[in-house]
Symmetry: C2
Subunit: 476 residues, 2 copies
């Protein structure tokens, strides 16, 4: 077996066994490992570095839109969960419960936050006095826990990391504006940083957040044509304000309930990255969030001056703001090429004695495998230009797929055919839960978002008048 193929053979075929490909890639590239407790994951340094880059980029956007970070407690009194009827119904079955603390059985059991609307609600009720205190715009980066039956690293784990924004406003309009603003922030972030174009829209009643009046989601198309819910923004109306008594004294001298929102994205985004861009050789990481953007592989490293030149190049790139590294291990260049390809590094730089003599370097981009040369004297510019181009190309590639793989259906049979061929399917829907359930049952596809700007005559399921066009897909 040719050395170059050893790595590829370690990874299951991406076209015929995508779930196995995913598991192979996340474990072999050391993004993640399984934790000792079922359903938990250890995010290893290579995976966590992606999360740090996601955090840095998204945190800057959250702050630029006027939000501040804070930290609320992990443990929530069980009774809080029950104050909002839909909320407890949705989350109570999947909470982890602390019943013993400091060697004693607790008077009231405590849940590990599955989400924090209730504890934010309790504190906002305490802090909010007058309309002058509004809006309250707080975000937190935290771990949360939901006891899941079927788990997969990043996609669905009992514990995961996320950010959750919780805001309170004086009016319905302002709260709805906030809900849509943050959905927009997520969309721009996904496209700019993750190179993932998304469908955004309102969720159906069945798919909305437990306790929200309306949930808006962003959905990303994966390599296999399935959808991944990559972020959500919820408009709560006064549901939580009434449950937690979040009132304020308005300008007109009367007390009113606030309108609240919440919105979040999680370490799921790492799963989205992997499944949106990966190929048979492994990960393909967008430069904006790649832990290593350029990997230098010295050729004939034992020859005089090669390692020195590689180190100098690394220093030059690092100084220019490129996340560069140099592989000085004992492995062969061929082995290194494959390993760094598997790890998805956007640009590989090959540097050997002849290159150094000629004052140049060889650049290989991960997305197209295209090989070019560039002068060492202009190394930083050349690499930065190439990184920008890789980022752009990944987005374009993903956008092309997103546009090409959407079909329409007039019947449930057509819908089934569409999703089986790896598409998202637009179809008319009457708006009733029965049809939504029936479609799910017969096609394994669910309503991802309502498509506001389009119109259909009939429901693809019951044939009655269509209320909405809905984007259906099988989903993670």
């Amino acid at each position: 077996m040719a050395k170059e193929n050893q790595f590829v053979n370690q990874i299951a075929d991406i076209e015929t066994d995508f779930p196995r490909w995913y598991t192979d890639v996340v474990i072999k590239t050391k993004l993640v490992d399984y934790g000792p407790v079922k359903g938990t994951m250890v995010i290893r340094p290579y995976g966590y570095a992606i999360w740090e880059n996601i955090q840095r980029e998204l945190d800057a956007r959250i702050k630029a839109t006027g939000h501040q970070n804070a930290y609320f407690p992990l443990l929530i009194p069980y009774s809080y969960m029950t104050r909002e009827a839909e909320h407890v119904e949705g989350f109570a079955p999947e909470v982890a419960v602390v019943t013993v603390g400091g060697g004693e059985t607790l008077a009231e059991p405590l849940v590990i936050r599955p989400t924090s609307e209730t504890i934010f609600g309790e504190m906002y009720s305490k802090w909010l006095q007058s309309y002058r205190d509004l809006p309250i715009l707080i975000n937190q980066w935290a771990n949360v826990m939901r006891w899941e039956k079927t788990t997969r690293p990043f996609l669905r784990t009992s514990e995961f990391l996320w950010q959750e924004g919780h805001t309170a406003h004086a009016t319905e309009e302002e709260a709805m504006e906030e809900t849509m603003k943050m959905l927009g922030v997520y969309k721009e972030f996904a496209e700019t940083c993750l190179a993932i174009p998304v469908f955004t829209g309102k969720k159906t009643e069945k798919e909305k957040f437990a306790g929200a009046l309306a949930t808006f989601g962003m959905e990303a198309m994966m390599h296999d044509g399935k959808s991944l819910q990559a972020g959500t923004s919820h408009y709560m109306g006064q549901n939580f304000a009434k449950a937690f008594d979040i009132q304020f004294l308005d300008k007109d001298g009367t007390h009113k309930y606030a309108y609240t929102t919440s919105w979040g994205v999680s370490t799921r985004l790492i799963g989205a990255l992997i499944m949106a861009h990966g190929d048979q050789r492994g990960l393909v990481l967008p430069p904006v969030v790649a832990p290593v953007q350029a990997i230098i592989v010295p050729i004939a490293a034992k020859k005089e001056g090669v390692l020195e030149a590689a180190a100098e190049l690394k220093a030059k790139l690092t100084a220019a703001g490129v996340r560069a590294d140099c592989d000085t291990s004992d492995n062969s260049p061929g082995w290194k090429f494959n390993e760094w390809e598997m790890k998805g590094v956007p640009v590989r730089i090959e540097l050997g004695p002849r290159d150094i003599e000629a004052g140049k370097m060889v650049l290989v981009r991960r997305d197209t495998h295209e090989k070019t040369e560039a002068p060492l004297a202009a190394a930083a510019e050349a690499v930065q230009t190439l990184l920008a181009d890789v980022q752009k190309n990944l987005l374009e590639r993903a956008r092309k797929r997103k546009e090409e793989r959407v079909v329409t259906a007039e019947s449930v049979e057509e819908l089934l055919k569409g999703v089986e061929a790896g598409n998202f399917v637009k179809a008319g829907w009457c708006g009733c839960r029965e049809c939504e359930d029936k479609i799910k049952e017969q096609t394994a596809a669910s309503a991802r978002v309502i498509v506001e700007e389009e119109h259909a005559d009939k429901c693809c399921c019951c044939g009655k008048e269509a209320k909405h066009v809905v984007l259906f897909a099988r989903a993670y």
Copy 2:
């Protein structure tokens, strides 16, 4: 009552009721609030921004010394705790235990991490194969939980935020070098960023981490002469390697146990900042970690051009990298002065019509209340110079206290007198636990660190030959 004194009167007297002063300050400046579950805290935006600044500064240092971040699971199987005998004895009594997940009683109870040596150990055992994999240098930023009976915001809470580094090495020497290196990183960080000079040294057996061979700590002197343990670095020897089977194949072809370390600092550091620098008017924050470094207070804000000039000044300072803000609220200038003083902002800038006309601004530094003027044309330089000077002065002031308030004692009576007068006390100690316990009982002071470079003839307690000089203090 003069308006200026209203705020001061809201805060208990710092000299006569320091504990109450502390509570008043942390609550009134909105650093923190009490969570609904006893012993928990909500870190509010103003407090969390300090933590973000601490994280940014310390994280850069942790990475510069070769460590990578990762994230390990919150929940640890109860049985892991019991594998290291001292460890379980130390931590089992204060853990929170999850017994129910997803509606079912768990087969094995899970503890919320009080610290993560055990779960890191388990994973390191799995990952470590050969000497080539060493050292493993991983850090995580996470929440941890210890069920405490008596709690105070930042100083001792059941849940807190921290970083915990866990490393594995091939030899005793390397592991010990790592232990001391990270203690050094903490000390430099505390002095440079928090303006808190610290005593560092080895802990006695009684005070060391449960499961460590040796613990090294840094101790900071607070306003009241009590000590606060601000960070620790532990040398584990092969204790955890044996308990979790962390072995590697060495160059000589034999399997060996690794040597491990761990080290951490927490949100306690925010408590240290408050108690080291605060004064009767409230917080005094070192510029490096202050959320707002310069607050602009417009004078006669309704006069034409004042708010515009203030906004322009804010933009100029922000562009120069100063964390500047402008108070445009309806409150009076006097009210604003007091509020921002209480919040500890290092530099206040007063800007009124006459200042603008004269092309200048008034600067008031928080540490000395000294008032100066500077030209608006050179605003950024003037503010940056002043901030650097405030940072320097806070460190010098704290250093002076740290040097002046250390006395020596030859007897337990002298030791008691020393700590009652608000000092740290150096005294000879025979090395036995009985004397250490007796000193604690009679003086309420504990052994903070062993002073390596000094010598005493006799133990202050039993009069037998002294083994060490120990720095004693009452501690938080």
